[in-house]
């Protein structure tokens, strides 16, 4: 009984965290993009730096008319945003926020994360197909083409921490990096840990469909890609999942390469683990925003080129090198 209650509480807590994070991240992204372009960003709504702006926008989206195009495939069209959201939310189950703060410490947690986050693309493909709109379909097909490109280097570079720690459980992966920042995986087996971290980080930018890899929704050529026909609450769901996904990939990078909830130095242990975890994740979220407002969008073939010709061979060699390192050195 108590266990069930705790599970429900954790679920509710996670969902509210996702909502709050999405609201914060949209506001933060607006501010970061504005500051990088010497602008101010939202300033009016809510007083201090326009902090209420995204909440007002969310309310606006929720109050909008629910429009489904007449020739759309209605059941799929309605279902798609929820599949995208569920795929993103599912990953939160195994992300360790703290030493005792994890939804489910699966012994194949890493594998589970890769599997469940790929579900997002099915939702996107559904959205693009059911919209019955050429832009949506283009966006969805590009998304499908993108996933086969970035998912392989992501898988290979996520295997590096697994090889170093000898486990697939997210919690054990964090525990294996405890004791100081020099134990973190991105500094292990130098430079291969760092290389895996960089490749994972870059490929995860493609996973969350952000600039420079935002070709599935490139607004200058595809209107809004798979989300073209969506409006109101369903569009808000896509937006929410996009930012939740942004947190997921950053959290995974923080967990696997930056020591998760463990403190960087032993005497800093008095600060609770979840705070360290959120700090590290937010730093990576900021990195993603920084990249987005720096780089132009890649062409489809350039994305394929980067993923297949650069990330893939390097991550293969990297995995091999780390394996031999662990065999002979570590």
């Amino acid at each position: 009984m108590l266990a069930t209650l705790l599970t429900v509480a954790y679920l509710v807590g996670t969902i509210s965290f996702v909502f709050l994070f999405a609201l914060f991240a949209v506001w933060f992204e607006r501010k970061v993009s504005a500051w990088m372009q010497d602008r101010l960003g939202p300033m009016e709504t809510g007083g201090f730096q326009g902090w209420l702006q995204t909440i007002a926008d969310a309310v606006k989206l929720l109050l909008k008319e629910d429009i489904v195009p007449g020739k759309a495939d209605h059941p799929l069209f309605r279902l798609a945003p929820y599949i995208v959201f569920v795929g993103t939310l599912g990953a939160f189950a195994v992300i360790p926020f703290g030493a005792a703060l994890v939804g489910s410490d699966l012994n194949i947690g890493l594998y589970y994360v890769i599997a469940i986050s790929s579900l997002v693309v099915i939702g996107i493909l559904m959205a693009g197909w059911s919209s019955n709109n050429k832009w949506s379909l283009y966006g969805a097909m590009r998304s499908a083409a993108q996933i086969v490109s970035y998912e392989v280097p992501i898988g290979l570079s996520l295997l590096v921490p697994a090889v170093i720690a000898g486990t697939l459980s997210m919690q054990s992966l964090v525990v294996s990096q405890d004791g100081g920042f020099w134990n973190w995986n991105f500094l292990k087996a130098p430079p291969f840990g760092l290389l895996a971290f960089i490749i994972y980080f870059w490929a995860s930018v493609a996973e969350v469909n952000r600039v420079p890899f935002d070709i599935p929704e490139g607004e200058s050529e595809l209107v809004a890609g798979y989300a073209t026909e969506y409006s109101g609450m369903r569009y808000a769901m896509f937006f929410l999942s996009e930012y939740a996904n942004l947190f997921v990939v950053s959290a995974i990078a923080a967990t696997l390469f930056l020591g998760g909830w463990s403190a960087p130095l032993a005497f800093l242990k008095f600060i609770p683990g979840p705070i360290w975890f959120l700090l590290k994740s937010m730093a990576l979220v900021f990195m993603q925003m920084w990249l987005r407002w720096t780089l132009p969008r890649l062409r489809v073939d350039q994305l394929m080129g980067v993923c297949w010709k650069v990330f893939l061979p390097i991550s293969f060699v990297n995995l091999l090198a780390v394996s031999f390192w662990m065999l002979w050195v570590g």
Partner: protein, 191 residues
């Protein structure tokens, strides 16, 4: 000279990485630069004292000569004047020009004004000029017509009535004078 494939590969890789880092350095620098945005309704630029932004005129300086209205290429200025009677002194302008006309109406339609400034040089008394006021928005188009006459409706009516009375008196005097000279002609003149 052809470069080998591997050489090209690593060169391009390095170019991609280094140019990304350069770009990121630039955007990071801009992150801490103060914004150039001006929060308009809360703060605004101070205009130069003599900024030429909107046509205005000093009513007390106007002689009602109509030179500005004639110069206007888009007929924005509409003036109505009445000659002051001989016994009424309207005073002089700052540069000593005697004012002979009542300026009953001096309207500038800002909706049509092209801000060319051609109305300003012809003015003999420098009554019409630019002012540094750029917030000309109005909710109704009619409100864009600026009325520069300071005379009230009652005053305008009074001036008109006095003028008509004077004219009627003059006409009467003239007709009675004509009647004494040639009584037969009055009958044919009247309708």
């Amino acid at each position: 000279m052809r470069t080998s494939l591997s050489e090209n590969y690593f060169k391009q890789l390095w170019r991609g990485v280094s140019s990304t880092l350069i770009g990121m350095r630039v955007t990071f620098g801009h992150l801490f630069k103060p914004a150039v945005t001006l929060q308009y309704p809360h703060e605004r630029w101070t205009m130069p004292e003599r900024a030429r932004l909107r046509i205005a005129m000093t009513y007390s300086e106007c002689t009602g000569c109509g030179a500005c209205a004639r110069a206007c290429p888009v007929d924005v200025i509409s003036i109505e004047t009445l000659k002051a009677p001989a016994d009424e002194d309207l005073g002089v302008t700052k540069n000593g020009t005697k004012k002979r006309l009542h300026v009953l109406k001096f309207d500038v339609d800002n909706a049509k004004c092209i801000y060319c400034g051609l109305c300003i040089p012809p003015c003999p008394t420098e009554a019409i000029h630019f002012v540094p006021d750029y917030e000309a928005m109005q909710r109704k188009r009619g409100n864009l017509i600026y009325h520069f006459s300071i005379l009230s409706v009652a005053e305008v009516d009074a001036i008109r009535r006095r003028d008509q009375e004077a004219k009627a008196a003059a006409a009467k005097a003239k007709s009675s004078e004509a009647a004494t000279v040639n009584p037969s002609s009055t009958k044919t003149d009247e309708p």
